[in-house]
Amino acid sequence: MLRLEGVSHSYDDRAVLRGVTLDLAERRIGVIGANGSGKSTLARTLNGLVLPDEGRVSLGEWDTRRHARHIRRRVGFVFSDAANQIIMPTVVEDVEIGLRSLRLGRAETERRVNEILTRHGLADHRDHPGHLLSGGQKQLLALASVLVTEPEVLVCDEPTTLLDLRNTRMVHRTLDGLDQQVVLFTHDLDLLADFDRVLVMHEGRVAFDGAPTDAIGFYTKLLDEDTDPGGRAS
């Protein structure tokens, strides 16, 4: 289970996370919040992309500060702009390269790659250049490239931000069908209806933690207060 204990982080003098303590045990967890609320930094702490200034992030016995490699093998990460995540020229090569460090051998590598491409509808595009795929297909490729390493947890940082409705639904269906635990950071509130738990980030803290309907209600109210023409906040 992913655990955060008193996690704080700043960029220069700007605090973006303030003492966040969480146990992330549920199968589907959503995280929402306005821009600048600390969502992306929180996401990046979960697989060691960002090491907190204070506090600790762990998965079981592993700690992101001391065991970043082990954590990254167990916690996959998908970014909002899939284009930046595609490294190799073709689809099949991009999925394969994630397995190189695992030294699985040719047969096992091919089996895993073929299986993941078929499962995510990319088998017909295996030799196509990844950067020429549609937005939705690029995001599926980014997902496939991470899932082929069989992580226990998948952290997705706004994976549908750059997608149209059709592709958003496609990514949603894909995430919905995964066996892995998913921690989804998103602005797309519709994706969270079936989730087990939703956190609302506000000014670097978890301002609400509960069921999706309640969390979305809280977040909407928070936004209404922030944009109130009376100027009660911000």
Binding site: L49, D81, T90, E93, G98, P129
Partner: protein, 208 residues
Amino acid sequence: MSVLGLYVPGTGPLHRIPAGPKLLALLVLGVALIAVADLWVALTVLVVALVLYPVTGLGARRALAVLRVLWPFLLAIGVFQALFVGAWTEGVRLCAQLAALVLLANAITLSTRVAEMLALFERLARPLRRVGADPDRVALVLALTIRSIPMVAAAWTAARDGYRARGLRNRPHLLVVPVIVHLLRMAEATGEALVARGIDEDSESAHR
């Protein structure tokens, strides 16, 4: 064909030959062609290189595309040899050698996956471990270099579209800064993705 002029899926004879023997054959042929330095040998190899494309399923169109890019250089070399050296046959031989080798190298690129090429470079770079080099990283750098070509093109297109959309004309130097900024952002994001995917395994230190 990809916009990078890279791998073209296929099952022809060139596709079935591993990367190592293909590159070795190109090396041997290149050395022999230059050592022999004969006009008729050079022309024969050029014809063979041209015929290779349709015969191996790569298509004559791809061979012509290479020549279309190459012809200004060939013309310059030929004219230089004829006017300043006074040996037009030498010019024809040099042009034939150059065209033949570029066509053959391109045929290897089109029929070999980048991953296969990288695996070969990785094997070749293994002896460098003794002097502290990391073959995996050498292969990764090559992959990223190839990957950066469409990234540069995308950055240029985005900056040019913004330039045109704002009604700017005749000041192309204004594109330099946005292209560099765009590329730096892309490079940072790609570096972060490499770490997140565990591809750069030696990098234990996280971004802060």
